[in-house]
């Protein structure tokens, strides 16, 4: 299999994630787009691991670590989104313009 196939797929998925982060309004959909981008990175890692036939399985190990970090990230991100919702009554990234809570 040509190495270029998984790499191009990763490029497409990453750019879909970029579009989602820039264009979506709900904070939870923004986080879902971030997950798409992280998946594209994982695809790159696994593809290069298969290409190099690495005895240390560097790419696959790094992909598992990235999945773990993604789990931590989405947990914290959703906690922040829920805090925003409790404070303001919405989870809209365009309307969340204050750096501090309104007194």
């Amino acid at each position: 299999m040509p190495l270029i196939v998984p790499l191009l797929l990763a490029v497409v998925l990453f750019c879909l994630g970029v579009y989602g982060v820039l264009a979506r309004r709900n904070a939870i959909t923004v986080l879902m787009s971030v997950e798409l981008m992280l998946n594209a990175v994982n695809l790159n890692l696994v593809a290069f691991d298969a290409w190099r036939v690495d005895q240390l399985a560097t790419g696959q190990t790094a992909a598992v670590f990235v999945i773990t970090i993604a789990a931590a990230e989405i947990g914290l991100g959703l906690a922040i989104v829920l805090l925003l919702f409790r404070g303001h009554g919405h989870a809209d990234t365009d309307r969340a313009r204050d750096l501090v809570e309104a007194e």
Partner: protein, 192 residues
């Protein structure tokens, strides 16, 4: 191998497009399941079975469930929303297309002629040995990071928002009223 990879990849792209363009938030979250599962299929086609299984377990099993819970807790509407995508989406699309062209050109120029040789299956034991031998220090650091994220999420969700503060004040006022009433009742009993 390549047929399975291309099929899973096309499914992942279609589902990814629906994730970022769907007008219903819950549908976007469910398309995310399809996209992540298809990427897991791509991992399987690349002979990375352990990563594929972890992907299904962690992403589809935990992260998407967490996202769906967050959608429920933020009272996300299930009907189609016109303003889920902002007005600057053409700008966002052009940024994404330019980035795709740049990245794609770079990838083609750099790795256009390389080939992935068929890898023997049974990579899970190799990955397990590598994680617990070579990469054991990053593994432990990662467990500390997960603990920190856990504590952070708990602290964030324990913080009272403005409405919650109002609730506690109301509860305190109720309690004060109750105690005042109790004292008044006691006095009345004393008088009697």
């Amino acid at each position: 191998m390549i047929v399975g990879f291309v099929a899973a990849g096309l499914l992942a792209v279609v589902a990814g497009v629906l994730v970022v363009t769907s007008r219903r938030i819950v549908h976007a979250a469910l398309w995310l399941v399809v996209a992540l599962g298809a990427v897991a299929g791509c991992f399987g086609a690349l002979a990375a079975e352990f990563v594929a299984l972890v992907q299904i377990l962690v992403y589809v099993g935990a992260i998407v469930v967490l996202v769906l819970f967050a959608l429920m807790l933020t009272k996300a509407p299930t009907n189609p929303l016109k303003d889920l995508t902002t007005k600057r989406s053409p700008f966002a699309a052009s940024v994404a297309v330019v980035l795709a062209l740049v990245l794609g050109a770079g990838v083609v120029l750099a790795f256009g002629n390389e080939k992935i040789e068929p890898v023997p299956a049974g990579a899970a034991s190799d990955v397990g040995a590598a994680v617990f031998q070579t990469w054991v220090l990053p593994f432990e650091v990662l467990s500390v990071l997960l603990l920190a994220a856990l504590i952070g999420a708990i602290v964030l969700s324990q913080r009272p928002g403005p409405s919650a503060e109002a609730d506690t004040e109301a509860v305190a006022a109720d309690k004060a009223g109750d105690t005042a009433r109790d004292k008044a009742g006691d006095k009345a009993e004393d008088r009697a």
